[in-house]
Structure formats: structure tokens, C-alpha cells
Subunit: 111 residues, 2 copies
């Protein structure tokens, strides 16, 4: 796995702003994965029974890629734009045990 | 996203059996994604500060694919083989907000 940075972000969002938050998060994920070579994966899901609880599985190529990501216009737009929506944020550093999936074009066709 | 089943499994493993558990989980993930058309993604990670805490992001094509998965020899081998290793198991149904990553061959070359 080399120098990769893998982590899970856990967020609690203000319910009254959840739709707006989801839109901003979606835009930020698309821009990050599509334009930053070092952002390898951003998988965001919401708990079915508590949709304001968001979890994001994040994989960056290395620490430098992660630091660069934090300075991008799309990340800064997301960070400032959602600052008042995020009630709690917990970042958990993790290590991959095994990450495996079908070819991506198949997955993205579903989501 | 259609009929997909997406969820996060959270497990606490007996520390003294963690290596054996990781081996069995890895084998089960490889067999499932490689041989079952309806198992789209299994991403297992361990908390860095608490490696016995395992989280698995799971995506199945639909409920039937998930039910079929539970009957496969490799899943049954994993389930019975790890029964004494798993101290706690929590299954959380989730819904994708946005799941996006680089082409899979690039990701798998890292892990």
C-alpha cells in the first residue's frame, strides 16, 4: 500500500441543510477525483436510519497529494460553503485490509 | 442506484486471532468479487489506532445477489471459520451519496 493515506471521515450534518450539503459534497467529490491525480477514491454514504450521518472512505496517493487537495479551489469552496452545515466531524486513520471491486465503469453506471 | 444493497459492516476481532482473521477475510473478499457477478465491491479497512476494529464497505447488485452470496462456499467457509474470532458485528444499511474513484487497475496495483 506504500505511502497511501486512507481514512474515514464521519460527519453529522444539520438536518435542515442536508440537501444543500449533499449537493456540495457531490460536486467536491466529482471535482477531486476527476481533476486531482492523487485523489484515488472518495466514497460517501449516508446511514439509512440517520441520513444526516455521512461517512466518507477516502484514499489519497500519498501525504503530499492529500495536502495539495486541501489547497484546491473546489475543496476550499466545499470547506467554507459547508462550515455552518457540519455539526460534527471525526477523522479516523485506517489501513486497508483488502479493497476490491468490479471495474469502475460498471460501478459508476449504477450511482 | 436502483436495487443495490450498500452497507457497512463493523467488526471487533479477538486480538489474539487478528492475523488469522485478516487472512480469511482477504480470501473471502477476493473470491467474492472475482467469482460473483453481483458482488460489486468489498472494501475492508482497519482502524490504525485499533486494528482489531474492522470496517467493510459492501456493495451488492441487488438483494438476490446478496442472498446468493450468503450461500457460496467461500462465504460459508469464512463465516464458520471466523465465528470464534468475531467478538462483535454490527451491520449498518447505508445509501450512496457519491462514490467515485480512479480506474480500478490503478487502485488494485497499490493494495
Amino acid at each position: 500500500m506504500g505511502d497511501q493515506v486512507v481514512r474515514i471521515a464521519e460527519l453529522d450534518i444539520d438536518v435542515s441543510q442536508l440537501d444543500a450539503y449533499r449537493t456540495m459534497l457531490t460536486e467536491e467529490i466529482e471535482a477531486s477525483v476527476d481533476t486531482e491525480p492523487g485523489v484515488l477514491m472518495l466514497h460517501a454514504v449516508s446511514d439509512r436510519d440517520r441520513p444526516e450521518h455521512i461517512r466518507i472512505l477516502e484514499v489519497y496517493a500519498d501525504r503530499a497529494a492529500y495536502e495539495a487537495h486541501l489547497q484546491t479551489p473546489h475543496f476550499l469552496k466545499y470547506k467554507t460553503g459547508t462550515a455552518e452545515m457540519v455539526k460534527a466531524l471525526k477523522l479516523v486513520e485506517v489501513d486497508p485490509v483488502m479493497m476490491r471491486g468490479k471495474a469502475l465503469d460498471r460501478l459508476t453506471s449504477f450511482f
